[in-house]
Structures are given as structure tokens and as C-alpha cells.
């Protein structure tokens, strides 16, 4: 950012918001559809579930060497099943359809 020393010649046309060469119309900070918000919320849920899967995956090798592999597998499978139910619910509710 040292180029702040350079010459600055501003005039209104130059500093206008870009709009393909025609003057901008309407307010820039218009409101947006709630779709983005819903995606963000479901991302939060699924991301937290992914985070819960990481320690499970990490300890899998150790438990497998102790012979507890099937037990840990069932635990993980139940968790994944619940996760899948959540996904199916969202799908059925139409949350994943972008252009409703």
C-alpha cells in the first residue's frame, strides 16, 4: 500500500460505482432473499456434526487394534444415520431447492 504517494485525480465519473458505464440506479444496500441465510444455518449444523466426526475417525485405528472396531463402527453409524435423517428432512422440506 505504499503507492499512496502516487498522484490522485478523482472526479465524479471515475469514483462512481461500476455499472457498465451508465449511472447507477436504486439503493445499493437492498435487502436479499432469506435463502442465503437458510443455507448458512444448515451449514452450521452440518459443520458441527463434521467436527464431531473428526475425533471419532481419529481414534478409530486405536480402537481397531484393541479389537473394538465393530463397536466404534456402530457408534459412528448411528451418528451418521441421525445426520442423514437431518439431511433427508431438509431435502423433503425443499430447503435444498434453490429456485423455489
Amino acid at each position: 500500500m505504499t503507492t499512496l504517494l502516487g498522484s490522485k485525480r478523482y472526479y465524479p465519473k471515475k469514483t462512481n460505482p461500476y455499472e457498465c458505464g451508465i449511472p447507477s440506479e436504486g439503493a445499493e444496500n437492498t435487502r436479499f432473499s432469506v435463502k442465503f441465510y437458510l443455507v448458512a444455518v444448515s451449514f452450521l449444523l452440518f459443520d458441527i456434526e463434521t467436527v464431531f466426526l473428526v475425533p471419532w475417525a481419529l481414534s478409530f485405528q486405536k480402537f481397531r487394534h484393541q479389537g473394538d472396531g465393530p463397536y466404534l463402527f456402530v457408534v459412528g453409524a448411528v451418528f451418521l444415520f441421525v445426520l442423514t435423517i437431518g439431511l433427508v428432512y431438509e431435502w423433503r422440506k425443499g430447503l435444498l431447492e434453490w429456485n423455489r
Binding site: 460505482p17 461500476y18 466426526l53
Partner: protein, 350 residues
């Protein structure tokens, strides 16, 4: 004390080497390769004026961007507008710090114990990379919102929705890598692939991971946030000069990071060939300098192949529609990733 001095010199050398290579050589060369391949694909010549074969074109462009007038559009929200490009470079640089670019080495007997060729030897490197690369969403949102331009806001919203959707898929694909290796240490993940590269048991998770990293870097089949024809260039429409240059630089260096991640996770890092290690080839990559250099170059070569794949795909495929993009992320990749974890865990358990 001299041991300490050597350690610090080694660390400094690693930092200079790696950041120098990535920001000073890989990113400009990538941009040149990208434009040259674009030229070849579209039956034109591409850059050919500056330097031999136009190789110095990126350098010239960089100087031009540096010297451009620092234009500040009237409507922008100044602090955030200036902050966004800086924030976009930080995750790109930080995520590099934990990528091991070679095997643990004694540098031909310089050190008593093998030293790791990564700037920060985190034992949770994988989680760190995932966490830091997802921070780049902030720069996109800030840039789009502070520009106060409709195109920028739309581009930023699209980019953030897309990045978080595909982060899920890539995160779940990586869970199966953790399952297979039993570690989140990137060096251990590579060591675990001595017998078999994870591309073979984890073929499904690789094919979830690949589109996900394309989407997270906003590259072409998924470059909706930047779609020139409809959104001009999305969130950095209002940026010019070096501020735009920083966005550009961080895009290409994040591309390098995710390529290195793909190689580390699925293609055995610096391992020689599937089921054929360096030791079997008679090369000691830990204790001899030549072996270390060979292994590091081999890793670099694999990363370069991946980077070329990025460019190749960009100039081959058209762009998705936005609802198709979100549909692919949520309805295809996510269920496949969950199913894949289930299968891998099941096979490993019994």
C-alpha cells in the same frame, strides 16, 4: 548455542524458500501458464511480448498493478474496503505454513534428528488447514459488502454460500482420510500411505474432494461468484491496482495450497509410487541430501500436475447454473461423502 543458531537459520531458510517459491515463482508462473494454455486452447498465441515466450508477463503486470493510481470509489465503506484484500492474503499465507513440502530430513547429516520440512510443525496440521482456508470467506464477504455495488454484493453472497456448502463436502471427504490414516498430522498421513496411496481405498472421497476444492477456490465450473458475463467480476468489481493484485495473488496461492492438500491426502505426498517406496528404490530420503531433494521435487511435480489440472478444467468446461451448483453440493456430494465414511469405517471395522 550454535545449535540454536542453526535451528533458527533452518527455520528462516524454510520460510524464505517456501514463501519465496510460492508467492514469487509459483503464483506468477501459474498465471503465465494459465494465459498460455488459454491461448493454445482458443487457438491464439497468448502472452509473447515480455521476456522469452512472454514468461515475464506476470512480472510486468505485477509492476503495473503496483504503480497504478490507488483509486478509492466514492460509495465504499473505507476501512473494510481496504481491509478485505489484506484479509484475503492472510489465510493463503497461513495455510502454507503447515504444509510439509518434503520428508523429514537431516539435510545430509547436518542435524542429529530428522527435521520436518514445514514451517510450523503442527500435529493438527490438517485441522489447521481446514480452519484457515475457510477464513477466506470473510475477505470475500467484506470485499463485496464494503464495495456498495450490486454486483459485488451478489457475487459475495454467491461466493460465501458456495464456499460454505462445498466446505461440508470437502470436510467429510477428509474425515475418511483421517479414518484411513488415524492421524491429523500431515507428515503422518503421508507416512501412512507407504503401503497404499489413499486414492485406492478412498477413491470415492477423492471424487468428492476434487469438485469441492474447485468450488472453494471459485474456479471455472464453479466460478459463479465471478461470472464475468452476469456479475462483471463479482466481489472485486470495485478493486483496482495492488488491491486487486492481492486478491489475484491469494487466489493462485490458495490453488497451490489445495493442490498440495490433494497430493498429501490422496497421492502419497512425496512417496515414490503406489506400493514402491523410495527405500525400495535404494534412495535414503531422510539422511542423504540428494534423496531429500529428489523427494521434494517429486512432491512438487505432483502438485504441478494438479495445478495444471485446474487450468485445463478451466478452459475446457462451461459454467454451471447457480441452482445446479447448490444442488450438486447438497444433494450429491454430501450424501456420497456420508455414505463413503460409512463404507470405509465398515470395511475397516470388520
Amino acid at each position: 548455542m550454535s545449535d540454536m543458531a542453526v535451528m533458527w537459520l533452518f527455520l528462516l531458510g524454510k520460510i524464505l524458500l517456501f514463501f519465496g517459491i510460492v508467492f514469487g515463482i509459483v503464483a506468477p508462473i501459474m498465471i503465465w501458464v494459465e494465459r498460455k494454455v488459454a491461448g493454445l486452447v482458443q487457438d491464439r498465441i497468448g502472452p509473447n511480448r515480455v521476456g522469452p515466450f512472454g514468461l515475464l508477463q506476470s512480472l510486468a503486470d505485477g509492476i503495473k498493478l503496483l504503480l497504478k493510481e490507488p483509486l478509492l470509489p466514492r460509495e465504499v465503506n473505507k476501512p473494510y474496503y481496504l481491509l478485505a484484500p489484506i484479509i484475503s492474503v492472510i489465510p493463503a499465507a497461513l495455510s502454507f505454513a503447515v504444509i510439509p513440502f518434503g520428508p523429514p530430513t537431516t539435510l545430509g547429516g547436518l542435524f542429529e534428528t530428522p527435521q520436518r520440512l514445514q514451517i510450523a510443525s503442527l500435529n493438527v496440521g490438517l485441522l489447521f488447514v481446514l480452519a484457515v482456508t475457510s477464513l477466506s470467506v470473510y475477505s470475500v464477504v467484506l470485499a463485496g459488502w464494503s464495495s456498495n455495488n450490486k454486483y459485488s454484493v451478489l457475487g459475495a453472497l454467491r461466493a460465501s454460500a458456495q464456499m460454505i456448502s462445498y466446505e461440508l463436502a470437502s470436510g467429510l471427504a477428509v474425515v475418511s482420510v483421517i479414518l484411513l490414516s488415524g492421524s491429523v498430522d500431515l507428515v503422518h498421513i503421508v507416512d501412512a500411505q507407504q503401503k497404499i496411496w489413499f486414492i485406492f481405498p478412498g477413491i470415492l472421497s477423492f471424487f468428492v474432494f476434487l469438485p469441492a476444492i474447485f468450488a472453494e477456490t471459485n474456479r471455472i465450473p464453479f466460478d459463479l461468484p465471478e461470472a464475468e458475463a452476469e456479475l462483471v467480476v463479482g466481489y472485486h468489481t470495485e478493486y483496482s491496482g495492488i488491491k486487486f493484485g492481492l486478491f489475484f495473488l491469494s487466489e493462485y496461492s490458495i490453488m497451490t495450497t489445495v493442490s498440495a492438500m490433494a497430493v498429501l491426502f490422496f497421492f502419497g505426498g512425496w512417496e515414490l509410487l503406489p506400493g514402491f517406496t523410495w527405500a525400495q528404490a535404494g534412495i535414503d530420503i531422510q539422511n542423504t541430501l540428494i534423496g531429500t531433494v529428489l523427494a521434494t521435487s517429486w512432491f512438487a511435480l505432483k502438485v504441478i500436475v494438479f495445478l495444471f489440472l485446474f487450468v485445463w478444467v478451466r478452459w475446457t468446461l462451461p459454467r454451471f447454473r447457480y441452482d445446479q451448483l447448490m444442488g450438486l453440493g447438497w444433494k450429491r456430494l454430501l450424501p456420497i461423502a456420508i455414505f463413503n465414511i460409512f463404507i470405509i469405517a465398515g470395511v475397516m471395522a470388520f
